[in-house]
Amino acid sequence: MCTRLIGILGALVLLAACSSTPETPPGGPGGPQSLGGPGTGSRSGLPGSQQDLEASAGDRVFFAFDRSDITPEAQQILARQADWLRRYPNVTVTIEGHADERGTREYNLALGERRAQAVKNVLVAMGIPAGRISTISYGKERPAVVGSSEEAYAQNRRAVTTVN
């Protein structure tokens, strides 16, 4: 019982240390992971898996309305993604580009593609071979968060790195 408590506290301290930089908007899914039992390896998934990527680096970056430029916060997340990709050189990824619902359908497909490409360009500039990264756009078709609110829209303007 006592050792379990210490284990939980230890995990708390570790996670707090890792997540000190505000890398995502409030409530962003790329932030600190929820606490569970004492440090289980399966919580962050197998090495090189999607869960491992999410735990180590964060799997997504966000964009301002109608924009595809990479913010400083996004830059930090992508730097960690690049580190992670270097650690697992056999992993290939697909960058999914998305838009919120406040635009027309075809333009949003193109905007999602532009966002995905913007992320790919950053990863390539950080040394990841372009052949390991493909892109796909879903425009406004696949919101991550439902609801017609600014909070939901901010979560939906995103590029998500998914392990193939």
Binding site: D66, S68, E101, R102, G103, T104, R105, E106, Y107, L109, A110, L111, E113, R114, A116, Q117, A118, K120, N121, T135, I136, S137, Y138, E141, R142, P143, A144, V145, V146, G147, S148, S149, A152
Partner: protein
């Protein structure tokens, strides 16, 4: 594969029915001017068509019902309540007792007859009468299979519309659209087709692959659309009669936003390469693509003019989403939208005189029209989200979809089709079995 026009199962043959001349004094022509804004709908009486056998008189009631509904929905006609009729029409070719119809203030009267031919096919005759001039205006006879009675009703409604307004009708048409179901973050989308009045709705795809933005061919029973089948967004052709689907935009990178050329032989579309989207035209016979734009921007939503000489499209090459015009070979690009806000989804009217579009300004969405040179911008409707206008073949009516906001649990949002006159009046919901978006209007089926 030949790009020939298909004669499909609903073929209808026509014969002009002899006009009855009743020697009468000249009078002002029975006519509606549909360009003049708010119109007082013309009172018209449409009694059930006559029929001897039970199936014939049933068809006679059904056809009169569909004709009435089409004309009423146009906003230009007011079919009178049959319970107010004084004369009981007993012969469709005899002169009506006009004073009876004048008494209930009918300006126009439609009579008809349904018979069965020796080969089992239905023969339907109708006559349109000018009640005050006491004259038959027009009349035709049609022959088709029993099951095809709806098409005859729509063809008759088009004839009446044309005779009274001077414009081609739009009732003998179909709509292909995207049928939607499920929560917003797990939306299931299927291509569906229906008559323009909502009848005969059927699904064309099974919902396993995301499908978007279908567009009718002007010359064949064919759709071009975007599908994520096989995990990659590509432009496809769908044959409505056979159900066969084939990819036509199989380049590396996403192809999307397809539209047919007016001759049906080419598809203009957007192709994404390295984050940039440019316009290409694809010859359907050779499958060879020709590049039209080479910008570092988003160029999308292209649409040919009805004469095929120009293309209007959507681009943010100037810094924001606007409408541009160019020659069909990609030369002489110029911007045509200059109002406040952003513009998208440009669609050229079949009459060539207007371009419809979606506009986003101050957080609201609008459906609007402008002349091809960009002047005369008029906004027809405004809402939380309205998008994707498509023109009826007579260039007088638009259909689009409207989406309402959803709450944080994803409830409350609905997506439905609506139609509206070019004048901005007569906005109506189009009834579909599920939620619906991305409508495309067929040409007249005849």
């Amino acid at each position: 594969m030949t790009r020939s026009r298909r004669i499909f199962a609903g073929a209808v043959t026509t014969a002009l029915v002899t006009l009855l001349y009743l020697g009468v004094t000249a009078r002002a022509e029975l006519r509606i001017d549909i360009t003049s804004g708010k119109i007082e709908p013309m009172p018209i009486a449409i009694p059930s068509f006559l029929g001897g056998a039970a199936n014939e008189s049933q068809a006679g009631r059904d056809i009169a019902g569909v004709v009435s509904a089409d004309l009423e929905r146009s906003g230009l006609f007011r079919p009178l309540d049959p319970r107010s009729f004084i004369q009981n029409i007993s012969a469709s070719d005899a002169q009506p007792r006009f004073p009876d119809w004048r008494q209930i203030n009918a300006q126009a009267l439609v009579t008809g007859l349904v018979t069965t031919q020796g080969d089992g096919r239905l023969r339907v005759e109708f006559r349109l009468w000018d009640v005050f001039a006491e004259q038959q205006l027009t009349g035709y006879g049609y022959t088709t299979t029993q099951q095809n009675w709806r098409r005859i009703a729509h063809i008759i409604a088009d004839e009446i519309y044309k005779r009274i307004t001077g414009e081609e009708g739009y009732f003998d048409t179909r709509i292909v659209y995207v049928s939607e179901s499920g929560p917003p973050d797990k939306r299931v989308k299927r291509l569906a087709i229906m008559d323009q009045d909502g009848a005969n709705n059927r699904f064309l795809t099974d919902g396993r692959a995301l499908v978007l933005t279908p567009r009718f061919s002007p010359t064949a029973q064919e759709i071009t659309y975007l599908s994520y089948a096989n995990g990659a967004p590509r432009v496809y052709l769908f044959n409505i009669d056979t159900g066969q689907q084939e990819v036509i935009g199989d380049f590396p990178g996403m192809t999307f936003a397809p539209r047919f050329s007016p001759d049906g032989n080419r598809v203009v579309l957007s192709r994404a390469e390295n984050g940039v989207s440019n316009l290409f035209v694809l010859d359907l016979r050779t499958r060879r693509p020709t590049r039209l734009t080479d910008s570092q921007a988003i160029d999308t939503s292209p649409c040919f003019s009805p004469d095929g000489s120009k293309i209007v499209f959507n681009s943010d090459r100037g810094g924001s989403q606007q409408l541009y015009m160019m020659n069909a070979d990609g030369s002489e690009v110029k911007r045509i939208s200059f109002g406040s806000g952003k513009y998208g989804t440009p669609v050229w009217s079949p009459r060539g005189d207007q371009i419809a579009f979606t506009k986003i300004d101050g957080g609201s969405f609008f459906i609007g029209v402008m002349r091809p040179d960009g002047s005369g911008e008029r906004l027809l409707t405004r809402d939380f989200l309205v998008e994707a206008p498509t023109w009826a073949p007579n260039g007088r009516v638009l259909m689009y979809f409207r989406q309402t906001p959803s709450d944080s649990r994803g409830h409350g949002g609905s997506t439905r089709l609506f139609s509206i006159d070019l004048t901005g009046s007569n906005q109506r919901e189009v009834i579909t079995p599920q939620d619906a978006s991305d409508p495309t209007w067929s040409p007249l089926l005849r």
